[in-house]
């Protein structure tokens, strides 16, 4: 077997409620901005949870070539988010892809070989646009006002645009991104809820390491800001329904009084690259991906394993994969769903892995500032972790000042803290179902 190739991170692109693009997001984290407020995208007053993390406004035309503008009408919000993240990621990496060249932002031809450029993108259960679908369904009501499948089949469905289905297939995030940037190498769409981003980045890491691609764009994106996505977790009792009047403190990961997750929208796509490829083109190297591990909750398909074993396993595998020990870890990025049972399981897992060392390790969670968007949250966490390691700066973690008594995390309060970071661990896991994944990131040394 050929020696594994080293894989480095050369670009970060994010879209978050506190900032679009890495500079704006990072500044927001350092300044303790909170992205949670009352929902404006629709009237949320009938829903149990009425607060969420919405993105600042943006123009999609700023992120695609002019020739692609006609495709915007077949993009759901989730696809849009992925397209925005992709643009930021390739620009940050200094990759002049087809999109950048066609936008006239760099001379042609594109600087990346499209047959060696892959994509692994995490996506969620893309929700239908309720305005569009409900409006169409209404045309199939019978005289009593009840929905009639025969009227729907015979005529009603014609009120949906012919390409309707293509807006909601999860792989369309990757399809649009690979078309816009011309990435023809191995391509995959991971749909494991909150674990998706970590699994996608891990798979891209393996793809490059074994030589099937030189560059991969990977991560995830999702929007929970629509009535269906804000209803689903409410039915499970996992949403925070008590803090509609205090959105800024609604998402309280690992807090003694945490009371559920807060929905959000956003995503992150990052550029992973073979070290030799990055060196040849003299790219800026943020850090090295050194380990990946994944596991599964085999105890319950609907609730977290209280012992957190499936999380510990993923973390241990990532450490072993990198050949690292817990002594080398200086920073951990915890997920922090902010539901009572998930955070308890996660606390148990990290306590079990790091024991008393947790007191010496800096910790970070972005959930307090961002809430939780599903498939894209992990990549945002990953990007924040990479930047903290690159800059040796640990941003504060909002709403973590009143910790669960079992929690031993050393979150930063107030001003960011300067601390050298050699290696960092980032964890993601699906809140429903049992997928878990962890990534180990190393400071890049020659």
């Amino acid at each position: 077997m050929a020696a594994k190739r080293r894989v480095v991170i050369t670009g970060l692109g994010v879209a978050t409620p506190i900032g679009i693009g890495m500079d704006s997001f990072w500044e927001g984290l350092l300044q303790q901005r909170c992205g949670i407020r009352r929902v404006e995208a629709f009237d949320p007053s009938g829903l149990p949870c009425q607060v969420a993390g919405e993105l600042p406004p943006f123009q999609l035309g700023d992120f695609i070539p002019k020739s692609y503008r006609k495709s915007v009408k077949v993009m759901s919000r989730d696809i849009t988010l992925a397209v925005v993240c992709a643009y930021h990621a390739v620009v940050d990496a200094g990759l002049n892809t087809k999109c950048i060249v066609e936008r006239g932002e760099a001379p042609g031809p594109p600087s990346v070989d499209s047959t060696r450029f892959g994509a692994n993108i995490g996506a969620g259960l893309v929700c239908a646009d309720l305005n569009e679908l409900a409006g169409a369904l209404t045309t199939a009501a019978d005289e009593q006002g009840r929905f009639d499948l025969r009227r729907w089949g015979a005529e009603g469905m014609n009120n949906l645009t012919p390409l309707w289905l293509l807006k909601f297939l999860p792989n369309m995030l990757a399809c649009h991104v690979t078309i816009v940037h011309d990435a023809q190498a191995p391509s995959n769409t991971i749909t494991c809820s909150e674990a998706s981003s970590h699994l996608a980045i891990g798979e891209a890491f393996r793809t490059i390491a074994r030589g099937d691609a030189d560059v991969c764009i990977c991560g995830g994106a999702e929007s929970k800001i629509n009535p269906m996505a804000m209803t689903r977790p409410a039915l499970w009792g996992r949403l925070n329904t008590r803090d509609n009047e205090a959105p800024q403190r609604a998402s309280r990961p690992f807090a003694a009084d945490r009371s559920g997750m807060v929905p959000s929208e956003g995503g992150g796509l990052v550029i992973l690259e073979a070290l030799d490829h990055a060196r040849t083109r003299k790219a800026r190297i943020y850090a090295e991906v050194a380990g990946f591990g994944a596991g599964s909750n085999a105890v319950s398909w609907s609730s977290p394993d209280p012992k957190g074993r499936w999380l510990t396993l993923a973390l241990q595998k990532a450490l072993a994969d990198a050949g690292s020990t817990t002594e080398q870890i200086d920073l951990i990025a915890a997920f922090g769903a902010a539901t009572p049972e998930h955070d308890s399981a996660e606390i148990t897992a990290w306590n079990g892995l790091l024991g008393s060392r947790l007191h010496q390790v800096s910790a970070l969670t972005t959930r307090g500032a961002l809430g939780h968007n599903g498939a894209g949250s992990g990549a945002i966490d990953f990007a924040a972790t990479v930047m903290a390691l690159y800059r040796n700066t640990i941003p504060p973690s909002l709403n973590t000042s009143n910790p669960d008594p079992a929690s031993r995390f050393r979150f930063v309060q107030g001003d960011p803290q300067d601390a050298p970071v050699r290696q960092a661990l980032s964890l993601g896991y699906a809140l429903a179902g049992g997928q878990s994944a962890a990534l180990l990131i190393k400071k890049f040394g020659e």
């Binding site: 009237d43 007053s45 009938g46 829903l47 259960l125 309720l130 305005n131 409900a134 209404t138 009501a141 006002g145 929905f147 499948l149 025969r150 729907w152 089949g153 015979a154 469905m157 390409l163 289905l165 293509l166 297939l169 999860p170 792989n171 369309m172 399809c175 690979t178 078309i179 011309d182 023809q184 191995p186 391509s187 769409t189 991971i190 749909t191 494991c192 809820s193 798979e203 393996r206 074994r210 099937d212 009535p227 269906m228 209803t231 409410a234 039915l235 499970w236 994944a294 596991g295 599964s296 909750n297 085999a298 609907s302 074993r309 699906a430 429903a432 179902g433 049992g434 997928q435 878990s436």
Partner: protein, 433 residues
């Protein structure tokens, strides 16, 4: 030395039945699993038929343990059943030395069906004002009905990762658990990626395959609006006509295919029988258009080449091609073109067939079920037919094994799956040397 990956067990739930060998016999006999759609009232839909799974009870496969999965979606149930079959086929129940942290799951699992009646009721309630007139959606009125009628478990089960989660619990699989949803290419991709995980050393055993049912009102609506489905409602048994000049779209099927992939030494140590070796995998993106396949089959060609290259094999060594062969005008023409380009002089002589002619298109689950037919073709030395093939199409001029199964030795087979939006995946399996 690179770790090698063999298939040690297989199971499926298909429109032709739920038993490995009886379904295979029906395929070799050229039977069709199509019929009028009964899962919902589709009588007024442009397409009122499909290839449904019939007489399916999870308890027949899991016994009393089925109760632990109450509320599981049709997708999850199919997957659990197919996995139970594969697990037994691999003689894993008798294996006492299995390390559960080294057993993983990689599925191409589809999204669970929308809970349609409550969803439609909420939509209609939300689009009616106080006077009872139709109005633009009011989310407050929508929420009132939605919160009352939708249920937690039916909503949860729509997440595509749920089938894999059920499997992890029932089979105590604590290793990597991943779901891909690259549309119609998903389970081919899942098997390829699972093979990679074992080769790398992330697991010793992977439960790999797919599961999907889109035979529900919005599934059929979506495909009918795309005009992707056959509308031969009066002759549904002969509606699925891959590569035939009169083809008019695919026939929607449902089901699951699961394979047990295992590191070859792990299989040998426990005395397991290896059915075939997974030797090649290629995954590419067309990066062309959302709505069309690349005209020259760029991505499909690259995927087949990558799969052959990674297997270290040449087209001359492939004895059977399981085509994506959906029966749409565009797919069958371009797939033929792509096979011709990759196989060159051998394109005319390699037997190619599409079992979608018999079981329909299982969408995310299609590739796994089709790979199982490749393994059975190798095992039995017989190639399944493409049924309903009568009118040759000048654009499709290869050997599609028309209407009759064919006895001939198959040492290695190549299986294609292509997804909407230009996702291409190809696997190569071969007899164990």
């Amino acid at each position: 030395m690179e770790r090698r990956v063999v298939i040690t067990g297989m199971g499926w739930v298909t429109p032709l039945g739920h038993d490995l060998d009886s379904v295979w016999r029906r395929m070799l006999a050229g039977e069709s699993g199509a019929g009028p759609t009964k899962l919902f009232d589709a009588t007024a839909f442009p397409t009122s038929f499909s290839a449904q799974v019939k007489d399916f009870e999870l308890a027949d496969f899991l016994g009393d343990s089925a109760a632990a999965h109450d509320g599981a979606s049709r997708n999850s149930r199919f997957a659990l059943a197919a996995c139970a079959m594969a697990w037994c086929d691999a003689a894993l129940p008798a294996c006492t030395a299995l390390d559960p942290t080294r057993v993983g799951v990689y599925l191409g699992g589809g999204e669970g069906p929308l809970d349609f009646q409550p969803f439609a009721a909420a939509a209609l309630a939300g689009c009616r004002n106080e006077q009872g007139e139709t109005s633009p959606l009011n989310t407050v009125r929508w929420a009132e009905t939605a919160l009352q009628r939708l249920t937690a478990v039916n909503e949860l089960e729509q997440d595509p990762n749920m089938a894999g989660s059920h499997i992890a619990v029932h089979f105590n699989a604590q290793g990597p658990n991943i779901n891909t949803l690259t549309a119609c290419a998903a389970s081919t991709q899942a098997i390829g990626e699972a093979m990679r995980l074992i080769r790398y050393g992330d697991a010793e055993v992977m439960i790999a395959g797919g599961t999907h049912s889109m035979i529900h009102p919005l599934g059929v609506t979506g495909f009918n609006r795309l005009t992707a489905l056959s509308t031969r409602n009066d002759t549904c048994l002969t509606a699925s006509r891959p590569f035939d000049r009169s083809r008019d779209g695919f026939v929607l099927g449902e089901g699951s295919g699961i394979l047990i992939l295992e590191e070859v030494e792990h299989a040998r140590r426990r005395g397991a029988r290896a059915l075939a070796e997974v030797v090649g995998f290629g995954s590419t993106a067309d990066a062309f258009r959302i709505t069309d396949i690349h005209e020259e089959g760029r991505g499909a060609i690259a995927a087949m080449k990558a799969a052959l290259d990674s297997a270290g094999m040449t087209p001359a060594q492939i004895g059977y091609v399981s085509a994506h062969g959906t029966g749409t005008e565009e797919n069958d023409k371009i797939e033929t073109l792509a096979i011709r380009r990759v196989f060159g002089d051998f394109a005319k002589s390699v037997p190619i067939s599409s079992v979608k002619s018999m079981i329909g298109h299982l969408i995310a689950a299609a590739g796994a079920v089709e790979l199982i037919t490749c393994v059975l073709a190798i095992r039995d030395g017989v190639v399944p037919p493409t049924i309903n093939y009568n009118l040759p199409d000048p654009n499709c001029d290869l050997d599609y094994v028309p209407n009759q199964a064919r006895r001939q030795p198959v040492r290695a087979a190549l299986s294609n799956s292509f997804g909407f939006g230009g996702q291409n995946d190809t696997l190569v399996v071969r007899a164990v040397l």
